[in-house]
Symmetry: C2
Subunit: 109 residues, 2 copies
Amino acid sequence: MVEQSLRLDFIFGSLADPTRRDILRRIAKEEMSITEIAKPYKMTFAAISKHLKILEKAKLIAKKRQGKQQVVHLTPATINDAAEYLKEYEKIWNQRLDLLEKYLSTFPT
Amino acid sequence: MVEQSLRLDFIFGSLADPTRRDILRRIAKEEMSITEIAKPYKMTFAAISKHLKILEKAKLIAKKRQGKQQVVHLTPATINDAAEYLKEYEKIWNQRLDLLEKYLSTFPT
DNA sequence: TTATCATTCAACCAAATGGTTGAACAATCT
DNA sequence: AGATTGTTCAACCATTTGGTTGAATGATAA
């Protein structure tokens, strides 16, 4: 499953940048045109266009044309995949809480 | 909350690399010495040491000395934070799907 | 068709990332 | 103390990343 791993590279790579997380947060509330998305940031429009390209490659967002402008919205399936990945770890932790407690007690307080 | 955002930078940045995800996966099953962690990878020991530094900075792992060697284990709280972050998005999507369903149900079948 | 608005592309730059090698340091064993 | 095992550090290199500017393209409105 090399492709699967690559997908996670893109997803987590996208989420590693604060501007991109902020964009996701904003379009989660309501879909927006690219110009509208770019407005609050101090960087250039081209920089935002690049960020959107990265989010699109990770399939975290999608664009659709609406007349002159393009409207951006979240792609539900993808963050779900990332969440599923992290849930595996939560499961392991829950199974091993007793052991973890032992580890933690070895640290100085 | 700039620090919080920075923490997410580190967490997701860590998870964006396949070698680091693989290390997490392996030590999730059982804690391991650094030498043991490094064994299966083709890259140098120093490279693995760097990857561990990155995971440590993100607080996804912690080391403790056990005699001559250092043993690495997961840090439970941190992935939880990332999972919480992603859960917010799942919540939003679920709300939207509910609305969509409600909307669709107003039409005759 | 031309002007205008919305967006991307290309070329460039500085800084960060992921790797290498070889020397240095830490802890234990003899 | 010296040898051995385990791990990090420093210097270096190639590639990627996140930004810039200015020109080019796409779609609609006049």
